[in-house]
């Protein structure tokens, strides 16, 4: 069934794949574009909110409550609810996608900074670090693993959610799945291709970010030799 006599009814009709290379390529770029915008904007916004939550502790609970609530709303529902205000546009999708990244990123950034051992922070203060400089040179740098972990999850999750935007008419792999597959009597090839490439993109970006983490944390790999 998979690679046997290949035709329109097979699992993957390679002929179709061949003929629609451009379509697939466009879908890939579109998917990537939507993902990156969401993650970057989400990260900046989360960064800001995290700093606020860290500086004014009492805001952490409300911030988490709001972002958590947003996170609970099913993606399609959220997109649909936004449509009357922002239409079937990239903006609609991005508002939704960014909202979903907030909870995980804020939580990880805050947990990461909190996770820096208190004696370390105290030692830094005792040596004469001023609060802002300490935050950037010590707290944030040591929170890198947690922050990158959050980015990885957010990225992978976003890639999955971008496929749902296909349902509100956007491109990406979701568009491929919906336009070419579901709407054409469940033609399986584009569905399989879209799904597989979506997973592949997630894996590649996830591994890529893991690599970035390794680059940013040279101290974590070295252990006592003596």
């Amino acid at each position: 069934m998979l690679f046997g006599a290949n035709g329109p009814n097979s699992f993957i009709w390679w002929d179709w794949v061949d003929r629609h290379r451009d379509l697939i390529k466009d879908a890939t770029f579109e998917h990537l574009r939507l993902t990156l915008i969401a993650v970057v904007v989400g990260f900046l916004l989360s960064g800001l909110l995290s700093v606020i939550a860290l500086r004014y502790r009492w805001t952490y609970a409300p911030i988490t409550w709001v972002t958590g609530t947003l996170y609970t709303i099913p993606s399609l529902a959220l997109f649909v609810l936004l449509v009357p205000w922002t239409g079937f546009t990239t903006l609609t999708a991005e508002i939704g996608l960014v909202s979903y990244t907030l909870l995980i990123l804020i939580r990880n950034i805050v947990a990461g900074v909190d996770g820096v051992p208190a004696p370390l922070k105290e030692a830094a203060d005792a040596m004469g670090y001023r609060p802002v400089r300490r935050f950037f040179e010590i707290d944030l740098r040591l929170a890198t693993p947690a922050i990158v972990a959050g980015l990885r999850i957010a990225t992978v999750t976003t890639i999955g959610l971008v496929t749902v935007t296909g349902l509100i008419g956007l491109g990406g792999y979701g568009g491929l799945i919906v336009d070419q597959g579901v709407n054409r009597n469940f033609f399986s090839t584009p569905i399989v291709v879209g799904a597989t490439l979506s997973v592949a993109m997630a894996v590649v970006l996830d591994v890529g970010l893991a690599g970035v983490e390794r680059l940013l944390t040279p101290w974590a790999r070295r252990k006592v030799a003596s």
Binding site: P117, P119, L120, E122, A123, A124, D125, A126, M127, G128, Y129, R130, I138, R141, L142, T217, P218, W219, A220, R222, K223, V224, A225, S226
Partner: protein
Amino acid sequence: MQELSLELPQGGLTALVGPSGCGKTTTLKMINRLIEPTSGRIEVEGREVHEVATHELRRGIGYVIQQTGLFPHKTIAANIATVPSLLGWSKERIKERTSELVDLVGLDPELLRRYPAELSGGQQQRVGVARALAANPPILLMDEPYSAVDPIVRARLQDELVALQHRVHKTIVLVTHDIDEAIKLADYIAILNVGGVLEQFGPPADLLRSPANEFVASFLGRERALKRMALLRVADVDLVTGPVVEVGASVDEAQKVMAEQGVDWIGLRDGDRLLGWAWSHDLDGASELRNVTTEPFRAWVRPSTALREALDLIVDSSTRVAAVFDDDDRYLGILTINQIADGMAK
């Protein structure tokens, strides 16, 4: 904490000791304003600590803690250079200072490129001290620095601190719960009781000889005399001639000396050189003292040896005495238990 009044000597090491809850760490942290006192004044080198900006104050005070607090994401070199770079020193100056410090604390320069996780506990503590001294602060605060290392490493680090202090003469405030550590390291000890009550303040020898009250006495522990002995040296005590004769003397004279002193052994000397000792029965049948084979004194000390060590050697020897030699191995005299006891009583 209750009200506390203390004056710590400049250039010396003061230990703050006491049980948990006595406020010794709190007191320490008030010096560099990690904790703010609710009332009172704290002066460092004549200036009230609140007169300067906090971060400026702290850059002039070294701080060493139990967990080292080394920044895991910076190399050893970068860790040591922390305060100098905060102060804006030039790269060359930092590099020079770092080499100095590495030498001062006894670290292998090869370690500079490494990260803290790659070092052993003892090495990390040394880096902590180097880091604290980097900007050459006049004052060094240490909060139980050696509690987390094993006893062998701890003893070595303590010795290194003593040696370092001889070289740099910093004003050090050391918090510890280990009274023996305090006795070993400190020029002055402040014994604190729960609630920040100062029970006694003074040099270790004074505390050991005359504890102010029951609390201090029990805190100092048993065997206070033995502990005092760790602080006194052979040089502080008078020596005796003991049963030692010139090798040129006659066998009869040797036997007379042995009988007078009530011992069954004789020591032989040749001017400044101590040849050794022999049992009295080894003299039987000997015509000359020169012909007697002697054994070297296994228990021997120098004037700088601590009395406690000397006592340990004496008790373990066959002769029940120790021979004293100066740094050029010239024979100075005999040390007995009586001499030690007399010296302690002074």
